[in-house]
């Protein structure tokens, strides 16, 4: 068994990228960034991997640059967060429409303004509909494992879609955690060189990034949507192969003590570990609490989610972002759609919390459960709530 080492998660994520035999990376190193960019450039500069590290002049250029390199058939990586991701926005749907298997690490942070840079999920949620495969990790080990698996998912011939790994900014990226790195030889076996569908080569000319009017555009969109939905099966296959080779098991939706749970927390990202402790505390106090953690956000695993919540009567959704002017947070909106038309669906209580880096501790989860259970037992409908907001 491989040795466990203590390492900052952002650095561990770039070490994971280094195991993936990438050809090229382009990252823009200004705040908000994480040590992913810095450490990856060290790895390349030290000659530890044979790859190009392109120093670009903006995030817009970073994503454009990796898209171009990916079109040539290269295996590419980039990383960003917050405003950087916002600046990439214009290119994100182009990368997915061109079916380029770019892999990106996102150190999730709030989006300005006010200027903040601390952790929440506003950055990725505002890019939700760009057609990327979107994964969330809970700890350092998952950041390593899912970064490597992302290349295999993205490059699968039935997927060919960009994939991003969401790692909570600061809460995870800047924490030192115990991680175990898979053996390079095994990774090479797990992740053979990319076999591109087409490349940019003068001997075999193709046109990429074509023009398409209303007579073909909807067909292209439908094809992309089907590919993204179909990616779920590939993610499952890749998780299964990972388990076989490296022993660690991943599910699209993870469950914790849900079998007999009456009320269930729903989380994404690093808060899942805190919520586990809260579930234990609540159970000590006689509350049948459980926890569901969504790992695959896009494509949303509807069937797996419905199976995961079991017979719970009350869902308490933890949203680290807000759909302004909508019905709460993006996760709860998704969950309500997942439950539409179900017989006796559970009540869905939505808490907007942890915005802009505000801590959410174990007793906060307990307090939210208490509030929700009170409302539920009285039969009161509950609107979404900005948890812990003064006033």
């Amino acid at each position: 068994m491989a040795k466990r080492v203590g390492m900052e998660v952002a650095i561990a994520a770039s070490e994971a990228v280094a195991l993936c035999n990438i050809d090229m990376a382009a990252v823009y190193p200004i705040t908000p960034q994480s040590h992913i960019a810095e450490h990856l450039s060290d790895i390349v500069a030290d000659g530890r991997i044979d790859a190009e590290f392109v120093t670009v002049e903006s995030e817009h250029s970073a994503i454009s640059c990796v898209a171009g390199a990916s079109a040539t058939g290269a295996r590419v990586y980039t990383a960003t967060s917050s405003q950087g991701l916002m600046l990439m926005h214009e290119i994100l749907p182009i990368v997915s429409a061109m079916r380029l298997p770019v892999v990106m690490g996102i150190a999730n942070r709030a989006v300005s303004g006010p200027l903040n840079i601390l952790n929440d999920h506003t950055d990725i949620m505002s890019q939700r509909d760009c057609g990327w495969v979107v994964l969330f990790v809970e700890n350092g080990q998952e950041a390593v494992d899912l970064t490597i698996q992302s290349f295999k998912i993205a490059e699968n011939k039935d997927v060919m879609l960009p994939t991003c790994v969401n790692i909570d900014g600061f809460q995870l990226t800047h924490m030192v955690e115990p991680v175990e790195f898979p053996d390079q030889k095994l990774v090479n076996k797990f992740l053979p060189p990319r076999k591109p569908y087409a490349t940019l080569h003068p001997d075999k000319p193709v046109t990429m990034g074509t023009f398409a009017m209303g007579d073909i555009f909807p067909e292209v969109m439908k094809a992309k949507d089907e590919a993204l939905k179909g990616a779920k099966k590939v993610v499952l296959d890749v998780f299964a192969e990972w388990k076989k080779m490296f022993g660690r098991e991943y599910k699209l939706v993870e469950t914790y003590k849900t079998e007999d749970a009456e009320c269930v927390f729903v989380t994404m990202g690093s808060m899942g570990e805190t919520a586990e402790v809260a579930v234990n505390e609540l159970r000590k106090a006689g509350v049948a609490a459980g926890l569901v953690k969504i790992r695959l956000w896009r494509p949303f695993p509807f069937e797996e989610f419905r199976a995961a919540i079991g017979k719970a009567k009350l869902l308490m959704v933890m949203d680290r972002a807000i759909v302004h002017g909508g019905m709460g947070g993006p996760v709860s909106v998704e969950i309500k759609s997942a439950l539409y038309g179900e017989k006796n669906p559970p009540a869905v209580h939505d808490y907007i919390m942890g915005l802009g880096g505000r801590d959410v501790a174990v007793d906060d989860f307990e307090a939210m459960a208490k509030k929700s259970l009170e409302a539920y037992r009285k039969g009161v409908e509950k609107d979404y709530e900005f948890y812990g907001v003064r006033g």
Partner: protein, 96 residues
């Protein structure tokens, strides 16, 4: 190169809408965009060739008799030829 089927179904669209092979822009008939098309009255034409020079699509050609005509597969119906033809030999006519 295999002739591409058109219009394709969503299952037939190549991944990323990639177009294989070079020099196939001519297969895309941009003439389908137009709302009007030019009609020449050779009786008024003085064969100055301005329509040929000004057509931004390059789709105006000289005919065997030295008059001019547009290839309607590529004419976008912009009306520049009619605007530039000072003897008034070109009229724009509504499609359909």
């Amino acid at each position: 190169m295999k002739k591409r089927k058109w219009p394709e179904t969503w299952q037939e669209v190549s991944p990323g809408c990639i177009v294989a092979g070079p020099a196939n822009a001519r297969e895309y008939l941009t003439g389908s965009w137009k709302a009007q098309h030019p009609v020449w009255d050779d009786g008024k034409c003085i064969k100055c060739g301005l329509c040929y020079i000004f057509c931004p699509e390059g789709c105006v050609r000289e005919t065997e008799k030295g008059f001019f005509a547009a290839d309607l597969d590529y004419c976008k119906g912009c009306g520049i030829c009619a605007h530039e033809c000072w003897p008034g030999a070109i009229t724009m006519v509504q499609e359909g």
